[in-house]
């Protein structure tokens, strides 16, 4: 028995990450859905959770005490982000430029700087009708720093794992509780997927819905996952962005496989590329207008179309198999 973190990412936006993440969360027993697309979270529209807690997340900004500040300029010198400006008679802060590193506070010789909290967003937590644990982050409009909020959302995983209510303080390490990795059952021989489902049940599966792209936000969302599903679509745009996302996952050493959504057999380059790079193709979802219509209403296509639900059950079996292979290496 173990806890597993499964992330769903894609380079390109609009390929179907949220639908796939929410579908998996729905069919995997004892799952949690974690929406890390904090700029535009959509999972709540499909899973319709009952939110029971909302918690504000802040970043730290320096506050300079004008009575103590001698305008020596040390803080300006140590700020790499040009967030502090020396106006000769005072030092002023540009909030948006500040990364909250704390160097100015530390190095101020007159102890004139303290840090105050500025809200950047909110973390919502709840349960769906079917008992899926739901967590998402919602970035405040106008706030630029998505990655710190994603980090705070992911700390909730560690929080719930430790049985805490999700308390965290600055400086706390977001890594998952590493001891959980030691309590794994190792199964040496795998006969069929049926065996796997029976022998290899996860205590809890966290399904992380990542933001699109390949920048720091995406890395923050997928890092520490046990396996990542990259969702792409049968177009040159889909392939190009898939390649970029694969590069990220290789760099941070996370095993992955690919789901081709809106599959179009006429675009052969996609499968050719996966074959050439020996990348696991986990599932193909054919393009079908009825799926898009269901999604448009906020309904998961697997709820309406049993054939698709079966495909997802198969996908989960495949992923379980992959996870075991990862462990046995």
């Amino acid at each position: 028995m173990k806890e597993v973190i499964l992330s769903i990412a894609s380079g390109k936006g609009g390929t179907g990450k949220t639908t796939i993440a929410a579908s998996l969360a729905s069919i995997i027993p004892n799952s949690a859905y974690i929406d890390c697309d904090v700029e535009e979270p959509n999972g709540h529209l499909l899973l319709k959770p009952k939110i029971n807690t909302e918690e504000f997340v802040s970043k730290l900004l320096p506050k300079i005490d004008p009575y103590k500040c001698t305008v020596c300029g040390k803080c300006v010198e140590v700020c790499e982000f040009n967030a502090l400006i020396n106006l000769k008679f005072e030092i002023t802060l540009i909030d948006e430029m500040c990364h909250g590193c704390g160097a100015c506070t530390y190095f101020c010789p007159g102890k004139a700087i303290t840090e105050i909290e500025k809200p950047i967003g909110v973390i919502r937590k709840g349960l769906t009708e079917h008992g899926i644990l739901f967590i998402d982050g919602l970035l405040n409009i106008g706030e630029v720093a998505a990655a710190p909020l994603i980090k705070a959302v992911k700390r909730k995983i560690a929080g719930s794992k430790n049985g805490q209510a999700g308390y965290f303080s600055k400086g706390e390490i977001s890594n998952r509780d590493k001891t959980s990795k030691q309590n794994e059952i190792s199964i040496s021989s795998i006969k069929s997927t049926d065996d796997i489902s029976q022998q290899y049940l996860f205590e809890k599966t966290y399904v992380i819905d990542s933001p699109p792209g390949t920048s720091c936000s995406m890395v923050e969302a997928v890092s520490d996952s046990d396996y990542c599903i990259l969702v792409t679509e049968s177009t040159p745009f889909g392939l190009n962005d898939l390649k970029l996302a694969m590069e990220v996952l290789k760099t941070i050493d996370i095993p992955f496989g690919v789901v081709i959504n809106k599959y179009d057999a006429s675009y052969i380059e996609m499968e050719k590329y996966l074959e050439e790079t020996k990348t696991d193709l986990l599932m193909k979802i054919p393009f079908d207008r009825k799926y898009a219509v269901a999604y448009s209403k906020g309904i998961l296509p697997i709820v309406l179309y049993p054939e698709l639900k079966n495909e997802f059950l198969g996908l989960f079996d495949t992923i379980k198999e992959k996870l075991m292979m990862v462990e046995n290496v």
Binding site: E80, G213, T251, K262, F287
Partner: protein, 309 residues
């Protein structure tokens, strides 16, 4: 706001995959005096469709990165204590987590940490078949600073206009090449999805924002957040509903929201598999489907009437 008479138009959506790039490329094809900028720097796609005839690569300096020299390091752990980005573990720096604040470098009592500029990606200055300029970028995987890179390519695009007008080159005149449209000068910016850092950089100094949405609950949800962001910047905007017949009642919701927020509806584009076909063939939709071209041209003309007023 405008540079040398060029109007800056940014195409955004909030939600990804609504058709920003396809529509940007189509609108760009209607104009001759233009510069195109793909600001989706961590997943750029427009170059695949525009197929530039030449490109010049530039390095993008993303910021500084710290590194620990383990021969000098006395393992006091102070750097790990002060780092707020969890970037230091076992006296090693994780470059993907390092924000480049330099705190560790400054705090190290043994000066065992170096702090040097790093390349965060590349950007490309291209020339298209019709001699117009096109800019796109490739942020290195996992990098931060995407907003900074967006600002940098936009700056290069604006500079190229200034250089061009100094040389007063042999620019083709719109009315000769494309008799369908009234001439104008445009910087067409294909924006990234979301509402965060690179989006904020994309909309700075924009004269007008075109919001491409789709009638899905996610589309509406994300559109509303984007509208709110643009309102804080006081940027004028208009809405295009793509795949408009996918869900008529949600499409109505979008129109109601537009009316409520006093945002013009620029047009509706019904769901059409030709769009995907064009993508697969690596073509601009206006080359593939004549009736779609006509519809898009109408939407673009309407958009221009709002931009100019």
């Amino acid at each position: 706001m405008s540079d040398n008479g060029y109007k800056q138009i940014v195409i955004l959506s909030g939600k990804g995959g609504t058709g920003k790039t396809t529509i940007s490329a189509a609108f760009a094809s209607f104009e001759n005096d233009k510069v195109i900028v793909d600001c989706d720097v961590d997943a750029a796609n427009m170059h695949l469709m525009l197929k530039p005839k030449s490109e010049k690569s530039h390095e993008f300096s993303g910021g500084k990165k710290a590194a620990i020299n383990n021969e000098i390091c006395i393992q006091c752990g102070l750097c790990e204590t002060v780092c707020r980005f969890d970037a230091i573990n076992d006296f090693k720096i994780n470059h993907l987590k390092c924000e480049g604040c330099g705190f560790c470098f400054r705090v190290c009592p043994e000066s065992a940490i170096s702090f040097t500029p790093s390349i965060g990606g590349n950007y490309f200055e291209c020339e298209l078949e019709d001699d117009s300029k096109f800019f796109y970028a490739k942020l290195f995987p996992g990098q931060g600073n995407s907003g900074k890179l967006v600002s940098e390519i936009k700056k290069s695009a604006i500079n190229s206009i200034k250089e061009n007008s100094l040389q007063s080159s042999n620019k083709k005149i719109a009315s000769i090449n494309n008799p369908d449209v009234n001439g104008g000068k445009f910087i067409i910016v294909d924006g990234p999805p979301g509402i965060g850092c690179p989006v904020n950089a994309s909309i700075s100094k924009a004269d007008f924002a075109i919001l491409v949405t789709e009638p899905t609950l996610s589309g509406v949800h994300d559109l509303k957040r984007l509208v709110e962001l643009l309102n804080t910047f006081k940027i004028r905007m208009g809405i295009i509903i793509n795949k408009s017949d996918l869900n008529e009642s949600v499409a109505e919701q979008i129109k109601d929201h537009a009316t409520e927020k006093n945002i013009p509806l620029l047009g509706e584009i019904p769901f059409n598999t030709e769009f995907v076909k064009a993508l697969i063939e690596g073509k601009n939709i206006v080359e593939v489907d004549e009736s779609v071209k006509k519809d898009l041209l109408k939407i673009w003309e309407k958009t221009k009437s709002y931009i100019i007023n």
